[in-house]
Assembly symmetry: C2
Homo-oligomer: 389 residues x 2
């Protein structure tokens, strides 16, 4: 086996999740998914496709009608960008979208800059391709994380092949402003650096906006800028287990991406793509309800957490996580393991997302039953009281 | 974009398939899939899973019950190997299985040896990882292709990180004998070379055997040999569009493979894995019927082709393709394009599978209606007659 693969860090979240062996009553908030089943109308479309016998290979880049619908959907969200269907390729999940982008852009030995803390897959993917990864940490202020722009721009030089950003950010909820995006884009244009923007949480944005989504690099970039945007059906449509995503690319990259899809996964299942078409057709019923419920979850959880003694937390502007720290409890892995064993509470340790996340915990607040969040906080409060007892 | 990606050859098969624009009456045999819908009992299992709401993430390496069932299935086919479920990981298709294996084993600059002609994905995957690929051609004799063992063993040295073989072979139908496998394994043990055996066609084998499958490296290797075997539900269960496969690995590689799956595709959909469990449960009804029908297809097509003037063809021992050449017609791409336009017959050009395939054509005989094969040959005969007219 390659040493770079042997050395890939195993998921610290899975390590905690595996620690619940023997405890059946753990309230688990460790994974990044809602506990709500995919809406019936979406599942029905896949079932009808299966019943009608759509069980064959399809186009590498996705069904033409799905690419068309995604082009309209992206243009609706980003009117300034006007995303043509010809710039869209359908992928087998958001993670596959990101991996394909990295395969297309990063040679072994290339330098890649990544803003952390972040979903660990974003760091692992260029590492698998043999890249030199350089991380630029966000900085916390009173529980909210922000970008150190001079540090970021200083890290991106003419030697930087690719910048990878995830905003709204998993795990911190940090979201880029339009002005920050413009500054980063201008800098990357000057250094010739590609931007890979993981914007899968763009619809899970809780600030008032016209288009109902977070600022996107698509809003500020030209169609032929060195920009690749990764998306997923997982979050806004409650479709985590379906494994369907897409990329928005400069048109000049689309043919190559079709080849990479052929050599990685061939194509997405037609019945899954039919489900995605239903999701888009019913987007106005599904996503606003999901987002409004997640906001309710956030606004239930964060004040309850903030009331606890020694807890530092700020409401996330986007995403579906509360990222918080507890005074004097700096070993996140140990704390997360003890919370499972001693309080029946399942959270993700902050250092799963980068060393600067150490001392923090991630709580996924996408819970169908808001009462589960309150019960989780009750368990945490009692556990904390026992620590000082 | 990386130059190695820009230079990846686009599929010559797709190039021919795209040439049917405007002709609705083309009989297409160019893709490697049956035209028969997945059996009802398999589709039903996925539908029930969707109805019951199984729409969440699952284990990176696959559902434990599917890994268990695959372990039993592989052991049934290869009693000498006794494949433990712990050596199996479930992947999002056979092509994903192969790509993951290459990611695990091949660093940029490593030397990889591949036996060709072969499905072009096997050459593209190590190329994407930055490897130096060296191809060792099979040799045709009277329409049947065979291994040049001295050339192969001479090409594999201590510098060879990985040997990639596909047998039963797409496109030629060539199949390794047990003795050849033993010789190759012994040589690779001495050079420290990994073997990646693409055995997705093992059940589509038309010689008499006890276990109903082609010779496998699993039959001759030890569990900790440097051997990775790739499989797929696509061919033996008529499940091409589902995108589900698996790998059999040395146990020491399984944890790393779980990480690579996390970073490439996360996991396969649970409803697809439920379909796979149904496929395995009904394997004794499904696969023997499929194989017996494909054999009937082969034995219909090949004699008809052999009767044509100037045609050289031999019955494939395994797989689902007739690979043949026609005297004096050496430009496969041009011939394949003309057959689409002038005869309404869709075949794959042999040089899609390597330069030594030039002058040959691949005909996928997996056709539900055997009459389509006869009609295809009729069109070819008339077209040939016009060439000499």
């Amino acid at each position: 086996m390659r040493s770079v693969i042997a050395q890939l860090e195993a998921s610290k979240i899975r390590e905690i999740a595996n620690a619940d062996m023997g405890r059946k009553d753990v309230l688990a908030f460790w994974f990044g998914e809602s506990d709500e089943v995919t809406p019936e109308v979406i599942r029905r479309a896949a079932i009808e496709s299966l019943e009608s016998g759509e069980t064959f290979y399809s186009q590498n880049c996705g069904l033409p009608e799905l690419r068309e619908a995604l082009g309209q959907y992206m243009t609706e969200s980003h009117p300034a960008a006007s995303v043509d269907a010809g710039r869209i390729v359908v992928t087998s999940g958001g993670v596959s979208a990101l991996m394909l982008a990295v395969q297309a852009l990063v040679d072994a030995g290339d330098e890649v800059v990544i803003v952390t803390p972040v979903w660990p897959n974003l760091v692992a993917q260029p590492t698998i391709m043999g890249a030199q990864v350089r991380c630029v940490p966000l900085r916390p202020h009173a529980g909210a994380w922000g970008l150190d722009m001079p540090a970021l721009l200083g890290a991106i030089t003419a030697r930087t092949k690719l910048l990878i950003l995830n905003a709204p950010n998993n795990p911190t909820g940090w979201t880029l402003t339009r002005e920050e995006q413009q500054q980063i884009l201008a800098h990357c244009r000057s250094t010739g650096t590609w931007i890979l923007a993981d914007e899968v949480y763009e619809k899970l944005y809780y600030e008032p906006t016209a288009q109902g989504c977070a600022p996107s690099f698509l809003d500020v970039a030209a169609p032929d800028d060195r920009l690749v945007v990764a998306h997923s059906f997982s979050k806004s449509f409650l479709m985590t287990g379906w494994r369907l995503g897409w990329l928005v690319l400069p048109e000049a990259l689309v043919d190559a991406m079709g080849k990479l899809i052929e050599f990685n996964t061939s194509c997405a299942s037609v019945f899954t793509q039919r489900a995605a078409l239903a999701a888009l057709a019913y987007r106005k019923e599904i996503t606003p309800r999901v987002v409004s419920h997640f906001k309710h979850c956030r606004d239930t959880l964060v004040p309850l957490l903030a009331e606890l003694p020694g807890v530092q937390v700020a409401p996330a502007r986007g995403g579906m996580y509360a990222f918080f720290r507890m005074e004097g409890l700096d070993d996140s892995m140990e704390v997360a393991k003890r919370l499972v064993a001693e309080a029946g509470l399942g959270l993700a340790p902050g250092d799963a997302f980068g060393p600067e996340g150490r001392g923090w915990l991630r709580w996924c607040f996408a819970s169908k039953d808001v009462g589960r969040l309150a019960e989780g906080v009750r368990r945490l409060r009692e556990w904390l009281a026992r620590q000082h007892g």
